[in-house]
Subunit: 370 residues, 2 copies
């Protein structure tokens, strides 16, 4: 018998779009809005104990009976496959099938877990993201990245699953504790640093009002973040190349987060990671301006750390960098800046391999000697 | 603050294609072929104890050292999230990242598990399917369906993840035990019944040579199955509608499979399910020819069952049908025939709701009274 070849053609997938609604006090209208747009689907809410405790679940449901899964404990510790299977089994026990729409009410962890559960439930049901934290409203609720951690690395499991809609109610930020609130602002600094020098200046001049949680300013912040993030996601939805710039600060950031045993918050680690990226740029002779000073000064002004805590095990850090999902053949890759407001692109690439020696040196420099 | 809306555009995904190579004794060339086409990726093999025991893993690797995960025990019992996490953690411990290509060597279960693991590992790495059973070569290795079962239902977890390539070596079928071999032939009968009356006749005249595992005939069988399956998948890759016809025999089939505690093989249950679909057609007054007799006669000729074992708990069966993933609002849906070689389409729909009364009646009739 000769070898015969049959070709299977996978047709193109048409372009799509989803809306992000930004406002103050809009959560009570979300459920009816989702239902009016998807009348055949049954809603299922995923949230966590902290968000439910802050009253947002009650505000969303308005007394209606809707299947709900409350993640406990809130936070990164629950971001694993066990939580996903518990959510799926709860949906199955409630008799839900492919006619489900999942509403993810909460911060980045809730969005990641619920988005992933929706993506893999019966080969995918729609998810509506209702982010309630600075980090989720600026970043994680938009763009379709979902996933959970393995015992070995962050987001070891995940798929791209674009939300069907996003509702950003800036009023939810008023109940966020101060540390969480500040940590999420790191993603705003990230957006400004890689793509928008004017926005960076706006952040510098508005740092104080942002910390006071002025609703008008937070509306503007959400709008700027969503516009920037949407533009990047549109250009490269599955992160083949340019979308990697959103990982600015995240290479060392993820490793620090993991090495801290998640004692440090994601945004705090991204802040440290952005400072580290600046140090790498300095080591590589890429810096000819005061951008590192301005970035560190803005981060400090927003109450964010810029150094690796001295008690973090640096050997573990280096090890984690080698298994980072952006690594190629064991070598970690970093997003760096060309200048403030523009990420560095070399030979068409936006993520850059950096030698282990340089990484080790920078990690050593970055350890907080206090 | 007024509500502001920002639209996120998700760009179209370009059409794609993947090859299915069909031949006898081609497995020794697969590894080098995959590497020549994807030189930057590192191979990782997923197989099971039965396939490795039959010598196919050795044939694939040819003495080379390649990271491998052997699923134990072989079969449906391992088709759960725990196996997927074990595979992912093995890949992580081997230092593999997004630069991985997963080779799925085995039957339908291996393909489903390995395809799902590849799809959700670091947001997706390519998978090459190397099916070694009649069911996988006819059906499951093509079309991108992946998934694993929950404690509650079959394929509760899954995503669409098209293979990067498929290699069908019909020689692997010579090591398959008789019951597995026959069971997989049900999918060939399915393809013929829903789409190709001429192929159905060919199966009727070649049933005996097929059972003798004549290599030339098996090559023709694989080629017919792949051509039919590819045409359906191309038309509707994510099963929005017409692809549902491939679920012919699968509604009651899946329920029987589950209610039997997986004592019955998938193909055996599909055979029973096709007979059941015929009974439903009769109940609904849709039959005016001898197709049910011909289908049952061909199934019997291939050594397949056409009745539900009398000891299966029928209440559990009915219950399972309500949570079947094709169910809408708790009502199961069935693919039925217009005539032999053509599935029934009504109002543009290929899966049809059938009343619980009719389903109960047919299940009762189908119980094997012996």
């Amino acid at each position: 018998m000769n070898v015969q070849t049959i070709q299977v053609n996978v047709p193109a997938v048409e372009k799509d779009a989803y809306p992000i609604a930004i406002g103050e006090g809009i959560i009570p209208e979300v459920l009816s809005d989702v239902r009016s747009k998807r009348p055949k689907l049954r809603a299922f809410v995923v949230t966590d104990a902290a968000v439910a405790g802050a009253g947002h679940l009650h505000t969303l449901l308005g007394g209606e009976k809707v299947g709900t899964f409350v993640i406990e404990p809130a936070g990164e510790a629950s971001k694993h496959i066990g939580t996903v299977t518990a959510i799926v089994e709860t949906m199955e026990k409630a008799g839900l099938g492919r006619d489900t729409v999942v509403l993810a009410l909460g911060g980045g962890t809730v969005g990641d877990i619920a988005g992933f559960a929706a993506a893999i439930f019966k080969r995918g049901v729609p998810v509506v993201q209702i982010p309630t934290t600075t980090v989720a409203q600026a970043d994680s609720a938009i763009g379709g990245k979902t996933g959970v951690d393995s015992l070995i690395s962050k987001n070891a499991y995940g798929v791209f699953w674009h939300p069907a809609a996003v509702y950003i109610d800036v009023r939810t930020l008023t109940t966020l504790d101060e540390r969480q609130y500040r940590a999420g602002l790191a993603e705003s600094v990230k957006h400004a640093a890689i793509l928008d020098a004017e926005y960076f200046e706006w952040l510098e001049t508005h740092a104080e009002t942002i910390l006071k949680r002025d609703m008008q300013v937070l509306g503007r912040l959400a709008s700027m973040n969503c516009t920037i993030k949407a533009s990047v996601v549109e250009e490269d939805p599955t992160e083949k190349n340019k979308r990697r710039i959103l990982n600015y600060g995240h290479t060392i950031g993820h490793a620090v987060e993991s090495a801290s045993g998640y004692e440090l918050l994601h945004g705090e680690c991204v802040a440290i990671g952005m400072a580290a990226a600046g140090q790498i740029e300095t080591e590589l002779g890429l810096v000819g301006d005061n951008r590192l000073e301005r970035i560190e000064s803005l981060l400090k002004g927003l109450g964010l750390p810029t150094r690796i805590p001295a008690d973090l095990p640096s050997a573990r850090l280096i090890d984690l960098l080698r298994t980072d999902k952006k690594a190629m053949a064991g070598r970690p890759r970093f997003v760096l800046l060309e200048r403030l407001g523009m990420a560095l692109c070399r030979d068409g690439q936006w993520a850059h391999e950096v030698s282990e020696d340089t990484v080790r040196k920078v990690v050593k420099q970055m350890l907080d000697k206090q």
